[in-house]
């Protein structure tokens, strides 16, 4: 039987880690994900898990230790945020290229400067090309559920890639919310045993990891990685389906919220989806045909499925909680690409919001829909790219 609990996002992630009971956790705590590792260290100290907890001196070392432990055959986890993730950069690519299914919570937080500890998605969005599977969560329940599904996805033999579960810093990490915590044994049965491949500690079958690969082989490795992460799409769907059967909560590559017959749609990621759903419901009551497409899996990006889901929509507002300096928002680029072949092609435009924790209130979301209504009526976009709720705008 699941337990209904009021628990923070960080607490929920720590519970998922306890239930997964990894062989090794190497971590260097950073705000706002510190509590995940603090809670987990308690589980280690209390003997509730068999994990070897390595307290390293930096995030670069944390990811290095994770890669080594994973290559040695262990199931490995860590957690980080923002500048911590940035310091892991070099090793993120190595974890993915070496096909190590390391699992990580990323509690999304703005990157310095100016110094800021609040939520935006520049940290994980910057890591989008590193070769990790990225799964995003609207709330505590989704963050926990995604992490419970993570081992079966990352460790699948068609995939074997590292996976990050992303949740909003403070907004989710530090908020108590009512959620269902599943039974330990049921979760462990769902996750199953981990079997490392070509492990370093298998002395009977010595192998080399991290070999040199120049113009003779490097590109074949990269193509292999690309195929593996493409394979992840079907695996995520299968695992999500199995999760739904086991635990009753349904997940797909993305969430379609009142998209049937919707003319105007917001596409967004993570906690702001909660506020958008409230506004969508209110506007639907007023007779407006609006909806939300909430991204769950950002890597691999489900281009075809999203194009299908949005094919009858007339105006799409893509909300990015991150910036790609000198370019449009990362999510906007993907959504626009997904819809390039749509016929007729909808109007699509991009708004940046929420950097460094700036709130987006329901009234602001109503404004967004009011603007998209104008575009629907005039048939043309006045401003392709802009910031919301910003001074001097």
């Amino acid at each position: 039987m699941p337990t209904t609990k009021a628990i923070t996002g960080n607490g929920a992630m720590a519970q998922a880690m306890r239930q997964i009971n990894p062989d090794v956790v190497a971590a260097f705590p950073i705000t706002p994900s510190t509590q995940i590792i603090e809670d987990f260290a308690e589980f280690v100290a209390d003997g509730e898990v068999n994990t070897e907890l390595i307290t390293v001196e930096s995030e670069h070392s944390a990811m290095s230790a994770c890669i080594g432990a994973s290559a040695a055959g262990g199931r490995v986890m860590t957690a980080t945020s923002a500048n911590g993730l940035a310091l892991m950069w070099e090793m993120l690519y190595i974890a993915a290229s070496m096909r190590q299914p390391v699992l990580m919570s990323v509690v999304n937080r703005a990157l310095s400067a100016p110094i800021n500890i609040h939520c935006d998605h520049n940290d994980s969005m910057g890591a989008r090309d590193a070769g990790w599977i990225q799964i995003y969560a609207e709330n505590n329940q989704e963050a926990y559920d995604n992490m419970i599904m993570a081992p079966a996805i990352a460790e699948h033999m068609d995939v074997r890639l590292p996976l990050m579960v992303c949740l909003d810093g403070f907004i989710i990490s530090h908020s108590i919310e009512t959620m269902e915590l599943e039974d330990d044994q049921k979760v462990r049965d769902f996750i199953g045993q981990y079997q490392g491949q070509n492990t370093l500690l298998d002395n009977e079958h010595p192998v080399t990891w991290g070999a040199l690969g120049l113009h003779d082989y490097y590109i074949e490795f990269k193509r292999g990685q690309q195929m593996a992460i493409q394979n992840a799409k079907a695996v995520i769907q299968d695992v999500s389906e199995r999760f739904g059967q086991q635990f009753g909560r349904k997940y797909d590559l993305f969430e379609s919220y009142r998209l049937d017959d919707a003319e105007r749609v917001i596409v967004a990621i993570n906690s702001v989806a909660g506020e958008i759903k409230e506004v969508v419901d209110a506007l639907r009551d007023e007779g407006e045909k609006v909806g939300l497409l909430k991204i769950r899996v950002f890597r691999p990006f489900p281009y075809a499925e999203i194009a299908e889901a949005l094919k009858d929509v007339k105006v799409i507002t893509v909300l990015d909680r991150s910036t790609s300096m000198g370019a449009y928002g990362p999510l906007f680029g993907e959504i626009r690409t997904a819809l390039y072949d749509a016929n007729p092609r909808p109007l699509i435009y991009n708004r940046t919001f929420g950097l460094g924790g700036r709130e987006l209130f329901p009234d602001d979301i109503r404004e967004v829909f009011a603007e998209s209504k104008r575009y629907l009526e005039s048939g043309k976009i006045e401003k392709l790219f802009d910031f919301l709720n910003v001074r001097g705008g």
Binding site: T4, K5, A6, P32, I117, H118, N139, D168, F170, I171, I172, H174, S175, I176, E177, T178, S271, G274, E275, K277, E278, G357, E359, L360, F361, P362
Partner: protein, 191 residues
């Protein structure tokens, strides 16, 4: 978003205001409601004004934004009275619960209130009596139950808090906190 019952707490860093909001949410959750609780995030500085929020509902709570139009305002530190932040988003129906030794009518005047209901509770005195120091949040929770019986009864608050505190505190401290809740409930005055 009026379908949620919303509470805003005002205190100063170090007084346990955030813990108070979270403990109240855990207790209300125990009665079968959906809850959320969170602080106004920022660097933690002792003595600086802090806010914390609760939402209670009979269905899943989807919003995460700070409470702007609270049903209840919990003032943990009366030295904050006079700052604008305390009365932001107040309507005629907003209920105030103030930790103060002063007269309820006088407190109401100091806050510039007219029609609203205000309850006072001497949570600091209760805290000194029981803990020999200033930790007013358990007494404030008791006063909340007095002000909002539709959300949680004293009986349920004591029962659920005992369950929640048992994981965190030694036995004697659990008992003292439950006493503080009961005293907070009993010693409420209104205007």
């Amino acid at each position: 978003m009026s379908e949620y019952f919303e509470v805003r707490w005002h205190g100063r860093g170090g007084q346990g205001t955030v813990t108070g909001a979270k403990s109240l949410a855990e207790a209300v959750q125990g009665t079968g409601k959906f809850v959320s609780a969170f602080p106004d995030y920022g660097p933690e500085r002792r003595g600086a004004p802090v806010r914390a929020f609760d939402r209670f509902a009979d269905k899943r709570i989807r919003v995460h934004i700070p409470v702007r139009e609270p049903n209840v305002i919990m003032i943990v530190d009366p030295t904050l009275i006079g700052t604008k932040a305390l009365v932001e988003g107040v309507s005629d129906e907003t209920v105030f619960v103030v930790n103060t030794e002063k007269d309820a009518g006088e407190t109401k005047q100091a806050l510039g209130l007219t029609g609203q209901t205000l309850y006072t509770v001497p949570a600091n005195s209760i805290s000194y009596r029981l803990f020999k120091r200033e930790i007013p949040n358990s007494a404030m929770m008791g006063a909340f139950a007095r002000a909002c019986p539709q959300i949680i009864s004293l009986e349920a608050l004591v029962r659920e808090s005992e369950r929640a505190f048992a994981h965190l505190l030694a036995k004697d401290l659990v008992a003292k906190n439950l006493d503080a809740i009961r005293c907070g409930y009993e010693e409420v005055k209104s205007a």
